[in-house]
């Protein structure tokens, strides 16, 4: 019995290949329903925009890999030679570790991105609903999901924002804590400003002003974001009521200067203000940052923050890898114990069958015996069987605890001819 994964991802295959092999919901259901080669006992198909992977539990690794490739080719009508060079294939603990890393987003394009966990879960549930998971893959995927959750909570791998607009939201959170009573002003109605503004709207801000030199654009954007469009000339006086300013106009010179901000700060009794200046050339005079309780980040600053956050995630990934290894070893143990138990049961049944058979023969030869004599014979045979089987049972259990169960199981099955 082996766990095998066959697939490709963003590191091994270009998007041109990935997009042709991606399973849609319909093809996925079809594949789960109709892909039934005899050597594949259990099957889960994971298909995201960055990876297509088939997890199988099988007795014959090579045959099942071949049929997985055939399935991918057939489902998408792509000749196998066009993608086989991009495939990777891992088996047993390597496959287990791979899935754990995938679920924990250690194998993702953006380290620590949160979507993959949901995608792994969906893939597992789809296979489960189609009746394609048995005890092994079910256990494997349950554990993968729990490892991923542990890693998410115990390490900081998905803690810090790795995009400019999210980094801006995170910075604002370190100033204001929550956005519930905060007002935002957007200067300029470009795409970048809109993106950052949208993030803030999703955080539940109290209100938003939008000012643009051409007021139609402002009105249009205001409708999209349920904000209030204000005339361009009115923005300096609105600074008083604004906590966060997002600026992305195409003005050649700064449009917000320290004098303007100092005035606003006096009116707002020094309540903190945060300027996010994503315009190039910059819209906000850098000297604004020297004012008390005023914070200014331009596009370069935000990019620095993002870069630092990426490095932070990479550091956290080291701890996550360690957790993955620990869980892989635990899964190995589970597999081992699982392997040992049926063998012990089979061994016992085998011996019991022989005992009953031989006891029967002996009783026939003895002729009529009284109850006490019968019981003595029963006890004698039971005693011999138990004493003989004690040592192999104990060694099997010990081997499973020491992680060498495969050899032991193989040996016992071979010596006692249990697979006949």
């Amino acid at each position: 019995m082996a766990i095998v994964v066959v697939g490709l991802n963003h590191t091994t295959a270009p998007v041109a290949v990935r997009e042709r092999l991606a399973f849609s919901d319909a093809t996925l259901a079809q594949a789960l329903a109709h892909f039934h080669p005899p050597e594949v006992q259990e099957l889960v198909i994971l298909s995201t925009c960055n990876r297509v992977e088939m997890y199988v539990q099988t007795r014959d690794v090579d045959a099942s890999v071949a049929s997985c490739v055939a399935c991918m080719a057939a489902c998408h009508a792509v000749p196998a030679p066009q993608f086989t060079s991009h495939l990777y294939q891992l088996s047993d603990l390597e496959a287990v570790r791979h899935l754990f890393r995938v679920a924990a987003s250690l194998d993702s394009l953006v380290l620590g991105e949160p979507q993959i966990l949901g995608q792994v879960k969906a893939a597992y549930l789809a296979a489960k609903a189609a009746g394609r998971t048995g005890s092994i893959l079910a256990q494997l995927f349950e554990r993968a999901l729990s490892v991923a959750k542990t890693i998410r909570t115990e390490t900081g791998i998905s803690d810090h924002a790795v995009s400019v607009s999210y980094a801006a939201v995170e910075l604002a959170k370190k100033i204001f804590e929550s956005f519930q009573q905060r007002t935002v002003m957007v200067l300029g109605a470009g795409v970048t400003a809109e993106l950052a503004a949208r993030h803030l709207v999703n955080q539940g801000i109290a209100g938003m002003f939008i000012a643009n030199r051409t007021s139609e654009r402002a009105v249009h954007l205001a409708q999209a974001l349920q904000a209030k469009a204000i005339p361009w000339e009115a923005f300096p006086e609105h600074l008083t009521y604004t906590d966060i300013v997002i600026s992305s106009t195409s003005a050649p010179h700064p449009i917000v200067d320290p004098v303007m901000v100092r005035e606003a700060m006096r009116a707002r009794r020094s309540r903190p203000m945060f300027f996010i200046d994503i315009a190039v050339p910059r819209d906000v005079d850098p000297a604004v940052n020297t004012l008390e309780n005023v914070f200014l980040y331009d596009i370069d600053d935000l990019q620095n923050v993002v870069q630092e956050n990426r490095r932070e995630r990479q550091r956290e990934a080291l701890a996550a890898e360690e957790l993955v290894w620990r869980e892989v070893r635990q899964f190995e143990q589970w597999l081992a114990v699982r392997d040992a138990v049926p063998t012990i049961v089979a061994l016992r049944q085998h011996a019991e069958a022989i005992r009953l058979q031989e006891l029967d023969k002996a009783l026939h030869k003895f002729g009529p015996l009284d109850e006490r004599q019968r019981r003595v014979l029963e006890a004698l045979t039971c005693g011999i069987v138990n004493k003989l089987l004690h040592a192999p049972t104990v060694s099997l259990k010990r081997a499973s605890q020491e992680g060498q169960v495969r050899d032991a199981v193989h040996m016992v099955r071979h010596l006692f001819n249990l697979d006949a």
Partner: protein, 262 residues
């Protein structure tokens, strides 16, 4: 026995302080939990000892300023636990628990001679005075820590290259709010501490304004509270200004205490 238990508490606070610092660097949850378990254990033990002492030997307890420092560490931990329960600021422990440890460590050193206490009535007043004043001091310590954290976080944000501190510390608004709440709670405590103190002085020395060991830091702390409260209420002070004033004021109170006692 008291001595042994006292050292156990001291050790628990020291270890908790070190663990909080370790947590700051390593960010592993179990370290944080372990530090809290130690802190909780030490605090429980200290609460038990203090209430036991209160019950058994009221007279000596209120008479020794040394014990009041032990009480101070207890009050600081109590303030910390309340603040963490209310605001979930993980970083606070790294700042305030070491101060509680220092307060407990100083309590081991007898600072002054016991005060003469002839009348039972006076013990009650002195006890009330000390407890209220200490809760005021604990709130002040809390404000000081919030102020230090504010200054660090503010510098991180202003530098535009936020580092590890930035992630570890909470938001400026939250720290400012913690400062404001501690001020609002601490001020009445300290005021009553002063009132009860002068009533006690009247009973003992015949004058409301008797100049004794603890009155200078107490008065300074009270003035600082009043200044901050006034600044916040009438001048609209907030953020960095309050943080600076709090840290400065706390250091002045601390200095006056040492100048006065050592």
């Amino acid at each position: 026995m008291y001595n042994v238990l006292f050292h156990v508490i001291l050790f628990a606070y020291l270890l908790a302080s070190l663990l909080f610092w370790l947590y700051m660097g390593l960010r592993q949850r179990w370290i944080f939990r372990l530090a809290h378990a130690l802190l909780g254990g030490g605090f429980g033990l200290q609460t038990f000892i203090l209430s036991y002492n209160l019950y058994i030997r009221t007279l000596q307890l209120w008479g020794e300023v040394a014990t009041s420092l032990g009480l101070l560490s207890w009050a600081i931990i109590a303030a910390y636990l309340a603040a963490v329960w209310r605001y979930r600021i993980e970083a606070l422990g790294s700042f305030i628990v070491p101060l509680a440890f220092l307060a407990a460590a100083f309590a081991g050193v007898p600072v002054t001679t016991p005060v003469r206490l002839p009348l039972a009535m006076q013990h009650v007043w002195l006890g009330l005075h000390i407890v209220l004043a200490l809760l005021g001091y604990a709130a002040l310590t809390l404000m000081f820590c919030a102020g230090v954290m504010y200054l660090i976080q503010e510098r991180q944000l202003k530098s535009r290259r936020p580092g590890a501190w930035y992630h570890y510390l909470p938001s400026l608004t939250l720290l400012d709010e913690l400062n404001a709440k501690a001020l609002l709670l601490g001020f009445p405590f300290l005021t009553q501490g002063i009132v009860t103190g002068s009533v006690w002085a009247k009973y003992t020395y015949g004058s409301y304004l008797h100049w004794n060991l603890t009155s200078l830091p107490l008065l300074l702390a009270w003035f600082m509270y009043a200044l901050l409260l006034g600044g916040r209420r009438t001048l609209g002070w907030q953020g960095i200004k309050v943080a600076r004033a709090t840290v400065g004021g706390f250091l002045v109170v601390l200095a006056s205490y040492f100048v006065h006692t050592l």
